[in-house]
Amino acid sequence: MTALPRPPTHPAHFRQAMQVLASGVAIVTAADDSHMPIGMTATSVTSFSMDPPSLLFCANRTGSMAPHLVAGRAVGISILAGNQADVAGAFAGMTGLRGAHRFASGNWVRGSLDVPILLGARCAIECSIDEVIDRYTHRIVICLVHRVHPGKVDDPGLIADSGRMSSFAPPPLPPGAAR
């Protein structure tokens, strides 16, 4: 079987396709080389494996965050509730604030691994980075889960869809259904 040729690039079509893949929104937090907190908004957080509990996300290698996402370091993943679009905006750079100044948006407290976790989020997860893989423009960050902080799990989630963020509540369970 012969390998397929490298696919032709249609960036606009590809972007359009990915924009309609609705996804949850999270803030990934870590520390820079002087140990000051840093964070970015991510729609790429994905469950990876159950054994060991692990997840992955991707960061643009030219972004300010990527150099600090290296094996052995701690990261916090705060999964946003529907009313936290302003925090997502701040950590996506919409307010112009950079570095630790972004943490003025949202109510942040210290997790057990010293990384910031967001109060009012649906859930926060503390991880250590197990491995990073640089591929194309992005860094794939594979994380081992150390601790899960359940938060506002019953609140609507913040969903990125078609280039916009919106609050989305799952429909109520039918009577008698188990969670």
Binding site: S34, M36, A100, F103, V109
Partner: protein, 367 residues
């Protein structure tokens, strides 16, 4: 490590937040000789904090005084130091936010970092810092402290050191204009990140620019409501240059009674007839704008406000009148107020029972 599950009370849902101010010092904010004047014994200040805590008020804010205003009562000479006071209040309350009021030139940032973190842990993330940069010659002479040229530049370094001390698990050096520190480490760090919430009170350009860049809240007094709106707009404009939001609060002295006549009569009784005139004179001697206007109605009004609440804005009347006035203050853009009473433990229960439900009806508070 303890996991904090609730945001700091000042980040809670109420549109207009409330706190009590200066319960750690004798007289509270008043300079009066009435028998029921605030004595600020430890049991007094704890009881006031507990009443406010159970009523759902957002914060208790102490003043930092090292010497008093003199007068017959030696006003404010008796005051509890605010880090140790905050530690005690934190242990005696459950949900109210607690501040320490700290003079930057008198307290080393490495000491402040550790004390602040200690109370943040005692309180489960309810601690806050009121950063004071002003220069009071009489008080600073007690410390043999030397006046600095640019106190707010010093304060900016001071805050950076605290933030870095919390962030860094390994020792770091700090070398700037005001501080040269070697191998700084401070554990535990605060539970709140980057640090406990912070506020300051400032009118001038350097102070307001410092707050805009470094603080979460700014306290500003006003003489009349129209001026109040200008202060809010000014602070918002400065903060937005930094991409930040700074909540603007004010200070109000309260006399709340069943009838307007009772409230007015008591206001005149404690703050005119029974004012501690010596202390008021000493306080006003610094207010040069009033020095040559002794017959002026504005002067007398201001003098009464100084005796009642160190020049803050009055909230005098029935519960209904007070809520209407609070509504007007909220409309100017204020996010909340620190309140003073002649006697907090006598007067807070009536205020909380009668004013808070009306504030809910008025849409100023939801809980």
């Amino acid at each position: 490590m303890a996991t904090v599950t609730k945001p700091h009370p000042l980040k809670g849902p109420n549109r207009f937040k409330l706190g009590i101010f200066s319960t750690n010092a004798d007289g509270g904010l008043a300079m009066t000789t009435v028998e029921e004047r605030w004595q600020a014994r430890w049991s007094d200040t704890v009881t006031a904090a507990q009443i406010a805590d159970r009523a759902g008020l957002e914060f208790t804010l102490p003043i930092a005084r090292w010497c008093g205003f003199g007068g017959q009562t030696h006003a404010r000479e008796w005051s509890f130091e605010t880090f140790t006071w905050a530690a005690g209040i934190a242990a005696a309350t459950e949900r109210i936010g607690i501040f320490s009021t700290v003079h930057v030139p008198l307290v080393h940032p490495v000491y402040a970092a550790k004390a602040l973190a200690t109370v943040d842990h005692i309180s489960g993330g309810r601690m806050g810092l009121n950063i004071v940069c002003g220069w009071n010659p009489a008080e600073f002479a007690m410390f043999g402290a030397t006046k600095v040229e640019r106190p707010y530049d010093m304060a900016a370094e001071w805050v950076r050191i605290i933030e870095r001390a919390y962030a860094s698990p390994v020792p770091f050096d700090f070398d700037a204009v005001y501080y040269q520190l070697t191998s700084v480490v401070s554990r535990p760090a605060s539970l709140q990140m980057l640090r406990p919430v912070s506020m300051n009170a400032a009118f001038g350009d350097p102070g307001r620019n410092f707050a805009a860049a470094n603080c979460d809240y700014l306290f500003s007094t006003f003489t009349n409501l129209e001026d109040g709106a200008h202060h809010v707009q000014d602070v918002r404009a400065r903060a937005s240059k930094h991409g930040r939001n700074v909540g603007v609060y004010t200070v109000l002295h309260v006399v709340c009674r069943e009838t307007e006549k009772e409230a007015r009569d008591y206001y005149d009784h404690f703050a005119v007839e029974m004012a501690d005139h010596g202390a008021v004179d000493e306080h006003m001697a610094k207010k040069k704008e009033f020095a040559n206007s002794h017959d002026d109605e504005a002067f007398n009004t201001y003098r009464q406000r100084v005796a009642a609440g160190e020049g803050s804005y009055p909230l005098v009347g029935t519960p209904e009148q007070i809520v209407a006035e609070l509504g007007r203050i909220a409309e100017q853009g204020y996010a909340g107020a620190a309140l003073s009473f002649v006697n907090y433990t006598y007067e807070l229960p009536f205020f909380c029972d009668r004013v808070l439900p009306l504030m809910e009806q008025a849409g100023l508070r939801i809980a």
